[in-house]
Point group: C2
Chain length 68, copies 2
Amino acid sequence: MSTATYTVAGMTCGHCVSSVKEEVSQVAGVTAVDVDLASGRLTVTSDSPVDDALIAAAVDEAGYEVKV
Amino acid sequence: MSTATYTVAGMTCGHCVSSVKEEVSQVAGVTAVDVDLASGRLTVTSDSPVDDALIAAAVDEAGYEVKV
């Protein structure tokens, strides 16, 4: 199992959290997604490591941005 | 035709705006709903005047509050 954390910018409410969770959950191999609104912390769990670019693309698709 | 304006507190993003629009649109007699996120201004158009309490209840249902 692999866990990676990211910081997401731009989320302001629970709807934003839901959007990010929904998109990131759809990335192949992802088994769990947790988002903390206050800190912007996104935790992604997967069977094997997932390319950061795929996670960033999913966050972008939701309308937000992974801080580098 | 009747138009009434309210100020809604707590909306932070476009998702919030959509939630308010959806709930207020379902109030009987309402024909159009406009929300300005920046100001929190909610404009409700209806065929005849709608009870403010019904609008406030719909906003509450969406998870926000009409400022008095």
